[in-house]
């Protein structure tokens, strides 16, 4: 008898939801891999001034286009070689991580605020507000992002701040779409009706009933849009209408290396791989977070 009770208790107590979630997070290979890589890049970006072997802006005409260390002519003084102005490529790469993360992070923050506000308002209030927001989303989707971003950056000048603002004000569409439909779904839930029935204010319902429950979707979109913003910045800089030289943006490095494509392909390979790894890590994390937060929706 006693044994039966023990088993029942064990079955009833089980792991707590927190334990289950932790188990899922650490059990998810993509999420762990993406998370670790992202963390490493983040730490490298912060510590760039301490670990970079050279000043990323210091030109040295005598040491132009030295190949990386694994080439015959490479030296450990410049492990990843130097660019066409003799600047240390590794140092530029490390500082470039700062640019990408800054742009990804802040653009996602701005677009997240705009998109979430619009999406939640449309989903919660419905009716006219929903129609207006849907229309604005459609207008935004119809705008050719690259073209508009290029044109605006060209007009205001390509500084880091301008690029962040332009991307932030352009990339909110997915936030708005996802938050709108998540809010719509929640809006019809019993507990939201219950909250309204006991007289909770709209503000309270949105912040304490709706927001916590759309948070996991929001986080997934944040990762997607971070990756999107990083790739777009790189493309703008590559086209010469994003962040301006001599800033060590990875897209700009590819663009500068493009002139030496014929002889020194590693000049584009290295920053390209850096971009690829960063975006891949963010995407793996996003996919992983989606799996972990809603395993029933997998596939």
């Amino acid at each position: 008898m006693a044994k039966t009770i023990e088993t029942v208790e064990a079955a009833l107590s089980g792991p707590t939801p927190g334990q289950v979630l932790r188990g899922r997070i650490f059990g998810h290979r993509g999420l762990m891999l993406g998370g670790i890589v992202l963390l490493v890049i983040f730490v490298v970006a912060i510590l760039a001034p301490l670990i970079a072997p050279h000043d990323p802006y210091a030109q040295n005409i005598m040491a132009r286009m030295q190949p990386p260390v694994w080439h015959d002519r490479g030296t450990w003084d410049h492990p990843l070689g130097t660019d066409h102005l003799g600047r240390d490529y590794l140092s530029r790469l490390l500082y470039g991580a700062r640019i990408s993360l800054l742009i990804g992070g802040f653009a996602a923050l701005i677009s997240g605020l705009i998109g979430t506000f619009m999406g939640v308002a449309a989903g919660y209030f419905g009716g006219k507000i929903d129609n207006i927001v849907t229309f604005v989303i459609n207008v935004r989707l119809a705008m050719p992002v690259v073209l508009v971003a290029l044109a605006i950056v060209a007009v205001f000048g390509g500084s880091l701040e301008v690029v962040i603002l332009v991307l932030g004000f352009l990339l909110w569409d997915r936030f708005a779409v996802v938050m709108r439909s998540s809010t719509q779904q929640l809006r019809s839930m019993e507990y939201v009706n219950a909250a309204r029935a006991i007289g909770c204010s709209t503000r309270r319902i949105i912040f304490s009933e709706i927001m916590p429950n759309i948070l996991n979707n929001l986080i997934v979109v944040v990762t997607l849009e971070m990756a999107h913003a990083i790739l777009l910045e790189a493309a703008l800089s590559f086209l010469g209408l994003g962040v301006q030289p001599p800033t060590p943006s990875w897209g700009l490095m590819v663009s500068e290396g493009k002139k030496m494509l014929l002889f020194e392909p590693w000049l584009i390979t290295i920053p390209g791989i850096a971009l690829f790894v960063l975006v891949l890590a963010i995407n793996l994390m996003g996919d992983g977070l989606r799996d972990v937060s809603a395993p029933e929706n997998r596939n």
């Binding site: 705008m143 690259v146 073209l147 508009v148 493309a235 596939n299």
Partner: protein, 304 residues
């Protein structure tokens, strides 16, 4: 019918809003007259240019003027080429359109079979390969992918021309780069849709009737799974044309995207303005057509 008309009206309204927004943004920024006049121009020159182009009028009047002319196909004159913008764009559009059609075809022809194969055997080797390809595609900057292709196929093996528009060979790499950009999303949606549909009751019904696997897969399952893919492809097609600016600049394809890139660098406002409108019209037309196509594919969406 009413639905179609309503949808059409909305689409036109969206196009109007896009043109208004871009017009305002571009004209708010500094003084186009001094940009045209160039450095070293006197104040008198600038004032003359301002009056000539009508920049001294209120913005709303300028916009209305531009819009009514645009409706008649007159997009003004390029500051740089001194040619009608409509003619300038018309000459280049065919390259961009070719690229777009090739790109979306490449994306669909790879994404749909891969997505179906992955869904039929989840967690198999082919599913993993498909996932790998799509994850790679989503993380790879397309301009970089283009350059890598150039390094491999033009420089190392000298199989394909790195730039220009002389022959169909010039379009191979741009097509792959542009198509690969759209492919991951289409593949994932096809896979998810097929997985969903393959466990649907009506697929079991088809098997219970004695239908063969091929028939079950293509007639009964794919027909339903493809419906959301149609919408996505239209959206991707619109994005792709807008994104062709990157690909055209890498491969020096002198299409509308390349023109846009050059014109932005040259502050050629009428050309940029017209291109933004045209690219957004593409998006609007594609999504509109996909709605019609979906209504044809999915009887539940036919209203009335």
């Amino acid at each position: 019918m009413v639905f179609t008309l309503k949808r059409l009206g909305l689409a036109l309204l969206v196009a109007l809003a896009v043109s208004m927004l871009s017009f305002t943004l571009l004209h708010l920024s500094g003084d186009p007259a001094s940009a045209i006049a160039g450095e070293g121009a006197t104040d008198v020159d600038i004032a003359a240019i301002r009056a000539y182009y009508g920049f001294d009028r209120p913005l709303i009047v300028q916009y209305a003027d531009w819009l009514f002319k645009a409706l008649r196909g007159d997009f003004g004159e390029s500051y740089y080429f001194q040619l009608p913008v409509a003619q300038l764009i018309g000459d280049r559009l065919s390259i961009t359109m070719t690229l777009g059609v090739c790109g979306i075809s490449f994306a669909l022809l790879t994404a749909v079979p891969l997505g179906v194969a992955a869904a039929v055997r989840p967690n198999s080797l082919i599913d993993r390969v498909a996932l790998f390809i799509s994850v790679m595609g989503q993380a790879m900057p397309s301009f970089w992918f283009g350059l890598v292709l150039v390094v491999i196929f033009s420089i190392k093996f000298q199989l394909l021309p790195p730039s220009g528009t002389k022959s169909w060979e010039n379009f191979i790499m741009p097509t792959v780069v542009l198509g690969y950009y759209a492919m991951p999303a289409i593949m994932r949606l096809t896979r998810a849709g097929m997985l969903d549909v393959l466990s649907a009751d009506y697929v079991r019904t088809a098997r219970a009737k004695g239908a063969g696997e091929m028939r079950v897969m293509f007639k009964h399952a794919l027909r339903n799974a493809i419906i959301p893919v149609v919408s996505l492809s239209a959206v991707q097609m619109g994005f792709m044309l807008g994104g062709s600016i990157v690909v055209e600049s890498i491969f020096a394809l002198h299409g509308a995207g390349y023109l846009a890139w050059e014109s932005i660098g040259r502050n050629d406002l009428p050309t940029v303005q017209a291109l933004i409108l045209i690219f957004s019209l593409f998006y609007i037309v594609f999504t509109f057509l996909s709605d019609l196509l979906n209504a044809w594919l999915d009887p539940r969406m036919r209203v009335g």
